[in-house]
């Protein structure tokens, strides 16, 4: 039970630290440390340009996509080395937000299922930050029920013709490539008729429409497919094997979502140390406030040390246990509770969302409006509880109304 590196880990950490110290864009640090909801702001510099520059630098020095094989642009590093790198990269990692989906989900999927030629051509460009990838999975009719998707791909000679609509595609508007799951056979049960592809986002017939979110921002898109024609060589995995292929993506998504998420305690703690309550005492000295702070503090540290237990498992060469699945579930509701509580303590001023006027630069007001999405994206609270119940605790599946039924016979209203 210790927090020390093994000698090998210590050597790796020292190497990473030295390289970062010598090469990182230190002039951006003050901005990166303030990064919160709603992307990064770099004092007028173009975040995408800075992100690509940092990624390319890392790539050139062998520090990009550490866990990928070298022939695809990675370093062939161990999982624990990747964790150490992340710890050392620290705030600079905030630059890489646009690459997470490509590096974390699309890349591994292409690596497992793509044709060798495409892998050798595309993966290094992805690792280097030259291309950005997106993941075309969710559909209006299939949110939690991903396999209920309806975008269809029909065979036409050596090609496939795609028609339909995707939604919640993060970064589609700045991506060069995407991976796409489609229905190729509606006459078989829903998980069996799916097929996966990869495609350039500027393929004719692809149309990208940003979604304005409830908080006014637009990080997601709708993507429409109107007779989009793809060669069969852009297929990932076999025809009808799309669900199996998508599990590679989703497994990698679950590994990244929620791990290391903050439950939001440090901000509310900071705020309560400053705010004076009605009776003139500081909020931090008020027992009503303290009781809530204590709960959030325990969730924050509980998530932190849960993450460390997972890292330790990696360090021992084991797979992390299922504990990490709790991250987003705990963090999502905590962030929302904290935002509401912080506004409450601010009284009528709590409604003001101007960062120049509101406490903590209106961080809590932004959090109030953003946190509902956290409880939904990448798996709703309810889906996560199902996953914990079924995969961790071994409870039986829900009863399925769609089990073994041809997709086009499943009730939809």
């Amino acid at each position: 039970m210790n927090f020390d590196d093994t000698p090998h880990e210590a050597a790796f950490r020292a190497e990473a630290r030295a390289w970062i110290d010598a090469n990182a864009p230190k002039h951006l640090l003050p901005h990166l440390e303030k990064a919160g909801f709603g992307g990064i702001e770099l004092g007028g510099l173009d975040p995408m340009k800075e992100a690509k520059a940092w990624q390319k630098k890392k790539y050139d020095a062998g520090w990009a996509c550490l866990h990928w094989p070298k022939e695809y642009g990675g370093r062939g590093a161990s999982p624990i080395e990747r964790v150490i790198w992340n710890q050392e990269e620290g705030p600079y990692a905030a630059l890489s937000g646009s690459f997470i989906i490509g590096h974390g989900m699309c890349g591994p999927t292409v690596m497992d299922w793509g044709p060798e030629e495409a892998k050798r051509e595309l993966l290094p460009r992805l690792a280097a930050g030259e291309d950005i990838w997106c993941q075309l999975f969710s559909e209006p009719a299939g949110g939690s029920d991903l396999a209920g998707l309806r975008t269809k791909a029909e065979r036409d000679g050596d090609d496939w013709v795609i028609n339909g609509q995707k939604i919640w595609t993060s970064g589609a508007h700045y991506s060069q490539w995407g991976i796409l799951i489609t229905r190729t056979d509606p006459d078989v049960p829903k998980h069996k008729g799916l097929t996966m592809f990869f495609l350039r986002m500027d393929t004719p017939g692809v149309r990208i429409v940003p979604i304005k979110q409830a908080n006014g921002q637009s990080g997601f898109n709708e993507v429409y497919f109107d007779n989009v024609r793809l060669p069969d060589s852009q297929r990932l995995g076999g025809v009808g094997e799309g669900w199996k292929v998508s599990l590679t993506t989703l497994m990698n998504e679950r590994l990244s979502i929620g791990s290391g998420m903050s439950a939001g305690f440090p901000d509310i703690f900071e705020f309560c140390k400053e705010l004076e309550l009605a009776d003139g005492t500081l909020a931090i000295n008020d027992r009503g406030v303290r009781s809530k702070l204590a709960e959030w503090a325990c969730r924050q540290s509980g998530l932190k040390y849960t993450g460390m237990r997972a890292i330790s498992a990696l360090s021992r060469g084991e797979n992390p246990g299922p504990e990490n699945s709790i991250g987003k579930l705990v963090a999502g509701s905590s962030l929302q509770e904290i935002a509401m509580f912080a506004l409450d303590l601010q009284g009528q001023a709590g409604a003001v969302s101007d960062p120049k006027l509101a406490a903590m630069a209106a961080k809590f007001q932004a959090q109030l409006l953003r946190s509902p999405a956290t409880r939904v994206e990448g798996g709703t609270d309810e889906i996560l509880r199902n996953i914990i119940g079924e995969r961790v605790l071994g409870l039986p599946d829900d009863m399925r109304a769609d089990k073994g039924i041809a997709f086009n016979k499943i009730p939809t209203a």
Partner: protein
């Protein structure tokens, strides 16, 4: 016993609902949220013409001369419709304070115009982050003028008159506070519109520089009048919150019936069903507490202060709970700008602080229960 609104009051409620369904669909709320108009002028005028604004204002001052129960049912429908108009500021607060403490001249001058909607009023009390308390009211009243600033002031950008909580005697105590009526259309006033979490109700900072003002009620009575006004407004706003909570619950229920996943309506999944059941529970508790609030308000019961705090806590939690979980029931769709869920979420969180936060009202509730218990 008849612990229910009368048939006439329910008819009035129906009438208000139909009127608002016609004149204030959510597209109208959205127009204010997204556009540059600070409020829905046509709706405001209509509400005045229909007599809804003046329901609880005596006929001699241009109102309908009905009572608080009628105003409660109207408030519920305004809340349900998220009406983007300054009713709470102008009617629940300013007209109420004038009714309670205004001079005969002030009543005659302003109440008819408030009832018709010709004049918009607002209450300006906040100067700092956190709860409003005597020690943080510094705006100073001297020789019939006010100097200082209030922020945020709900509807402060559109109001014609404000009742201002100001300090006429130096110090930090409540005795040094009085209420003043200020015509905001004078040169000593500067207003700045503020960004808020719910732009369907606008807010402003108001700076006063030697602005002419006249006393409302007796000098030194400001804090008491202010607190009493908050109690009455808590009940009326509570009905707005109940209306909003009910609508959010209905939206969630309707979506759960219509949206299919895994081959079945999502409302057949216990996770969703039980979430909606819990929303129903909190909305029902709030409504029942609200009925007692309405009763206390309409009878001027000695329990008014307790009823107000109970309802405030209950209805604030219910609206926040229902609005928040309505988004969750809707899943990703609930987080789009295009769906109306966020309108209710925004409003629920605005109303949760608009008369001071829950923590303040929890305190008041326990103080009041204790005082009653000791009596």
């Amino acid at each position: 016993m008849d612990f229910e609104f009368s048939a006439e009051q329910q008819q009035l409620k129906e009438q208000a609902r139909r009127y608002l369904a016609d004149k204030c669909p959510t597209t109208a709320v959205r127009a204010i949220l997204e556009g540059s108009d600070p409020f829905d002028r046509a709706l405001w005028q209509g509400l005045g013409e229909m007599g809804f604004l003046g329901a609880a204002i005596p006929e001699e001052y241009g109102g309908l001369g009905l009572g608080y129960l009628e105003l409660c049912v109207i408030a519920e429908e305004l809340g349900r419709a998220l009406a983007p108009v300054p009713v709470s500021s102008s009617i629940f607060l300013v007209a109420e304070i004038l009714k309670a403490a205004g001079s005969e001249e002030q009543k005659q001058r302003w109440l008819p115009k408030l009832a018709s909607g010709e004049v918009i009023g607002t209450l300006a009390s906040v100067e700092a982050t956190g709860s409003v308390r005597p020690s943080n009211v510094a705006l100073s009243a001297k020789a019939g003028t006010l100097t200082g600033a209030k922020s945020p002031v709900l509807d402060g950008d559109i109001a014609d008159i404000a009742i201002v909580l100001a300090r006429h005697a130096p110090g930090k105590d409540a005795q040094g506070l009085s209420l003043y009526l200020v015509d905001l259309n004078q040169s000593g006033i500067e207003r700045t519109v503020l960004d808020t979490i719910d732009p369907s109700r606008s807010q402003a900072k108001i700076a006063f520089k030697d602005a002419a003002a006249e006393l409302v009620g007796a000098a030194g009575d400001g804090w008491r009048l202010y607190e009493e006004a908050l109690d009455r407004a808590a009940i009326l706003t509570g009905f707005e919150q109940i209306g909003g909570a009910d609508k959010a619950l209905e939206m969630g229920r309707d979506y759960a019936l219509q949206r299919f996943a895994f081959g079945r309506a999502i409302g057949s999944f216990q996770a969703i069903k039980h979430m909606l059941a819990d929303m129903y529970v909190s909305a029902t508790l709030a409504r029942s507490n609200g009925y007692f609030g309405a009763y206390a308000l309409s009878t001027g019961s000695a329990d008014l202060a307790e009823a107000a705090a109970t309802m405030r806590v209950s209805s604030t939690k219910a609206f926040q709970h229902c609005a928040k979980n309505n988004i969750q029931v809707h899943g990703g769709m609930g987080f789009t700008w295009a769906m109306d869920c966020h309108l209710y979420y925004r409003r629920s969180n605005l109303l949760a602080v608009s008369l001071g936060g829950l923590n303040e009202w929890e305190d008041k509730l326990i103080d009041r229960l204790r005082a009653k218990n000791a009596a």
